[in-house]
Amino acid sequence: MHISKKIVVLGHFGVGKTSLIRRFVENSFSDNYKVSIGVHIVKKEVELSEEDTVSLILWDLEGTDDISRIRDSYLLGTHGLIYVFDVSRPSTFQTINDDLKKLEKRVKGVPVKVVGNKTDLILLDELKTVLDGKEISYDYLTSAKTGEKVNDLFEQLAKMLALDAEKI
C-alpha cells in the first residue's frame, strides 16, 4: 500500500527546520544559513515494509516568532505537524505551550511532534533541567548537524500516520 501524507514543519527563525529536512531527505548538512521565505516543499518516501510506503510531503514553512501569523492555507489538510525549537536559544521555546494550544485550535486532532534541535550545541542534562523547569515537554531532541534522532523522528511519524490511515 502506498499513501501520501502532508507534514508541516514550523517554528521560530533559525531553529533548523530546513536543516532537519535536508538531513532526513538528502542526508546532508550545511553551516551556511539561508532564511526560508514562504514555503518550500520536499518529498521523501519512507519504506515501512516491502509492500508499504509512505510519501511524506514536507511543507517547510518560513520561521516566525508569532505562530498566529502562519497562513491557514498552509495548515489546511495537514496530517501532522513538527514544531521545532532551538535548544540553545530559550527565546525559541519560551512560548511553546501557548503556541501548541493555538495550533491545536487551528488544526484540531492533528498529531504534533515537538522537537528540540541543535543538541550538539548544549549538554543534554542541562537542557533537560531547563525544559523541566519550564514544564516543556518534547518528543525528540535532535541534531541536524550530527543526524542524531532525525531519522527516528520522521520514520516514527510516518509509521504513526500509516497506522492511523489503516484504522480509517
Partner: protein, 267 residues
C-alpha cells in the same frame, strides 16, 4: 307431519318477508364479489374516485407538503453542503460558459455590424492564408500533464502525463502553496488563481470544492483552447463525481479516467 315440518311451515309464514330480504342481500353480495374479483369492473368503479383524489392531492401539495419538503431539503443541503456544491460545480460552470459564449457572440455580431463591408473583406483576405493556417496549427496548445489535486492538503489524487517530468507529488504541493499564497495575498477568499504562465508553458488551474485540476499545456494557449479545455475538465469532473464515494476512489481508476478524457484531446 313431524314437529320439525310444523316449525318450518311456521317459519315460512312468519319470516316470509325476511327471507326475500336476505335473498336480495345475498344477490347484492354476489354482485359485489363479482365486481371486486373482476379487475375491469372494479377499475371502472374505483378509477374515477382515485383520479379525483389524485387531482385534489396535486392541488393541495404546495400547501400541505410544500413546507415539509422545503424544510427537509434545507436540512439536507446544510448537512451535505460539500456534496451539493461538488455536484453543482460542473453544471454551473457549463451554464456560465454557455452564457458567456452567447454574450460574446452577440458582441461579435455587434462589432461586425459596425465594421464596413470593405473592412471585413480586408480582414478575411488578410488572415486566412495557408501560411497562417499552418502557423496556427503548429502553435496549437497541447496537453502535457493533468493533475487532480486535493485542494486543502495539496496531495496528488491522480494524474495523466504525456512525458515524464519531475515528481508530480512535489509539483502538486508547490502549486497548492503558490495558489494559496496568491489567493491569500489578494485577500479574496472567493477568487481563485486560474493561470500560471512560464515562457512556452501554461498551467491552467480549475478549482472545485474539494479538488482542483491543474493542466500543464505547451503551445499557444488561446481563448478558444481555454474554452475547449474547460469543457474537457467539466466533463471529466462530472464523471468523476458521479459516484458517491468518488473522494475515496483509488488513484489507478482515476488515472485511467484522466487518460480517457485528456489523452486524445485536441485543443
Amino acid at each position: 307431519m313431524t314437529e320439525n315440518d310444523k316449525i318450518q311451515i311456521l317459519k315460512d309464514i312468519l319470516f316470509a318477508e325476511d327471507s326475500d330480504y336476505i335473498e336480495k342481500i345475498a344477490h347484492r353480495l354476489e354482485n359485489l364479489e363479482s365486481t371486486l374479483n373482476d379487475r375491469q369492473k372494479f377499475s371502472t368503479k374505483v378509477d374515477p374516485i382515485i383520479l379525483h383524489q389524485l387531482e385534489e392531492f396535486k392541488t393541495s401539495i404546495p400547501s400541505t407538503l410544500g413546507p415539509t419538503i422545503t424544510a427537509a431539503l434545507k436540512t439536507e443541503i446544510k448537512k451535505n453542503k460539500d456534496e451539493v456544491v461538488e455536484a453543482m460545480f460542473p453544471i454551473l460552470g457549463k451554464m456560465i460558459k454557455k452564457y458567456i459564449a452567447h454574450e460574446i457572440k452577440l458582441l461579435s455580431e455587434k462589432i461586425n455590424k459596425q465594421l464596413s463591408f470593405k473592412d471585413r473583406m480586408k480582414s478575411w483576405f488578410g488572415n486566412s492564408t495557408k501560411k497562417q493556417e499552418i502557423i496556427d496549427e503548429l502553435a496549437a496548445s497541447h496537453i502535457e500533464q493533468v493533475l487532480l489535486i486535493e485542494k486543502d492538503s495539496g496531495l496528488l489524487k491522480a494524474s495523466y502525463s504525456v512525458t515524464q517530468t519531475i515528481d508530480e507529488e512535489m509539483i502538486s504541493g508547490m502549486l497548492t502553496a503558490i495558489k494559496s499564497f496568491v489567493e491569500d495575498a489578494f485577500g479574496q477568499k472567493n477568487q481563485n488563481l486560474e493561470l500560471i504562465d512560464y515562457e512556452l508553458y501554461h498551467i491552467h488551474l480549475q478549482s472545485f470544492n474539494r479538488f482542483y485540476i491543474a493542466v500543464i499545456l505547451s503551445g499557444n494557449y488561446t481563448t478558444k483552447a481555454k474554452d475547449k479545455l474547460q469543457d474537457l475538465i467539466f466533463d471529466f469532473f462530472e464523471k468523476f463525481t458521479k459516484k458517491d464515494d468518488y473522494h475515496v476512489l483509488d488513484s489507478d481508476s482515476i488515472n485511467k479516467q484522466l487518460a480517457q478524457n485528456f489523452g486524445h484531446a485536441h485543443l
